[in-house]
Amino acid sequence: MNSTTTQFVPSRRMGLYEPVHQMSMWGDFRNTLLDSSPPPELMLEVNANLDNQSEDTTSQGTFAASHRNDQEASKPDDKVLRRLAQNREAARKSRLRKKAYVQQLENSKLRLIQLEQELNRVRQQQGLCVGGGIDTSQLAYTGNSNPGISAFELEYGHWVEEQNRQISDLKNALHSDMGDTELQIFVDGGMQHYFELFSMKVMAARADVFYIMSGMWKTSAERFFLWIGGFRPSELVKVKIKTCQVLSPHLDALSEQQRLDIVNLTQSCQQAEDALSQGMEKLQFILAQAIADGLLQEGNYLPQIGAAMNKLDDLVRFVVQADHLRQETLQQLSRILTTRQAARGLLALGEYLQRLRALSSCWSSRPREQA
């Protein structure tokens, strides 16, 4: 944009060349408008200049044209007239574009004010820690400048949208008379979607393990059930097989062998969970010891902080293993269940999570008690 402004010469000297020069400048202005946000001050400056110039040009053009006409009567009028018309058209279009751009800026400004107000309101209500479920979005405002975490939050938003789509697709598939082979595709897709979440979480854990451990991306009700950065694998099993545990003979009820396998899976899942929980307790103990080492003694606490930092690498390992356990559990469950049972199980799990999120929204928008 700077080059355009400096190339801007007073119109009187240029005469006939003025419109052509003018149009190349309009072209530049249009290109910068299509690019994202040029600095506003510069835009306004250019706009002011261009506005002045557009008025000048038309009059100048006419002046030049009529002046030339008088002098060289042999030259045809329509070429000049056409150039004048084109110039007017370009100026008009430019004014419209400017109007649209300014309108867009105004809207953005309003939206920004709205968001700031909402933020302040929520901050006052919930203190420093701002949780999820403020509006319909799933993302918690953390003010996090960690790019790995910002990327994760963005991806998670998309993940939830895709999840909701898959849940309704699955519902329709189960109510249709779809065959097992086709249904299996939905089941595999659903499982894969959860596995993608696990890989996303592992990457985010490497960026900021405390963020994952606190479940910051989840809604408040989901966080209540948090266990090492996610749901307990045993809970996942319980929810998924809930639809199969009917007393009366039902098409999708579990066979004897399946019942046995589920019992074994639940048990081994619980044992693995307990082992991981005990490991976590040990890590907490070791971390506390490292930080508490040499309290009330001379010297600074940097060595203790350094030792504690090393221990935090172990924490990432726990998140990785917990997600791995979730993945293994889901996979084993899909081996035990038939296609139809697995589809119902996936649907049950998806709806369960949707209800939890609904609970969080409802909770955060409940009417506040007056003091």
Partner: protein, 136 residues
């Protein structure tokens, strides 16, 4: 001894380039020592005392009723060479850490991830029973 060969060949495959003959001889002796340990005990777990994942594996095995032989590498005289050996075994598996390392029935099973996976898919308990670590 089949077991000793198993450990040695696993190390050779995963070991990469070993330039010095001296180092290889040292490796041989460590292999022998480890092989002796794992073939003499149904379940052997190599750990490091501060490592929390090692604690997880131990708790899992204790919870199943297994009494594994635990070798704490930082408290053992030949801990260093054994750790190097385990590093090579782990490198073969792709990205896993060297400890905890679990040997069942004289064979290398894997780290925490493998043990968990085997337990969930139901193959761990039969493996333990076969090795004589469980009797029920």
């Amino acid at each position: 001894m089949e077991v000793a060969k198993g450990v040695r060949s696993a190390v050779r495959i995963n070991g990469g380039v070993d330039q010095q003959r001296a180092v290889e001889l040292d490796l041989e002796s460590v292999c022998e020592k480890v092989s002796a340990l794992v073939s003499g005990n149904a379940v052997v777990v190599f750990t490091i005392s501060g490592c929390c994942m090692c604690h997880v594996v131990k708790q899992l095995l204790f919870g199943l009723g297994v009494g594994p032989t635990v070798v704490e590498l930082d408290r053992d005289a030949s801990g260093g060479p054994i750790l190097a050996l385990l590093n090579r075994l782990a490198a073969g598996g792709g990205g896993g850490k060297a400890v905890p390392a679990v040997f069942v029935g004289g064979k290398f099973l894997g780290g925490i991830e493998t043990v968990m996976a085997c337990h969930i898919n139901g193959s761990l308990v039969p493996l333990l029973k076969n090795a004589g670590a469980l009797w029920l």
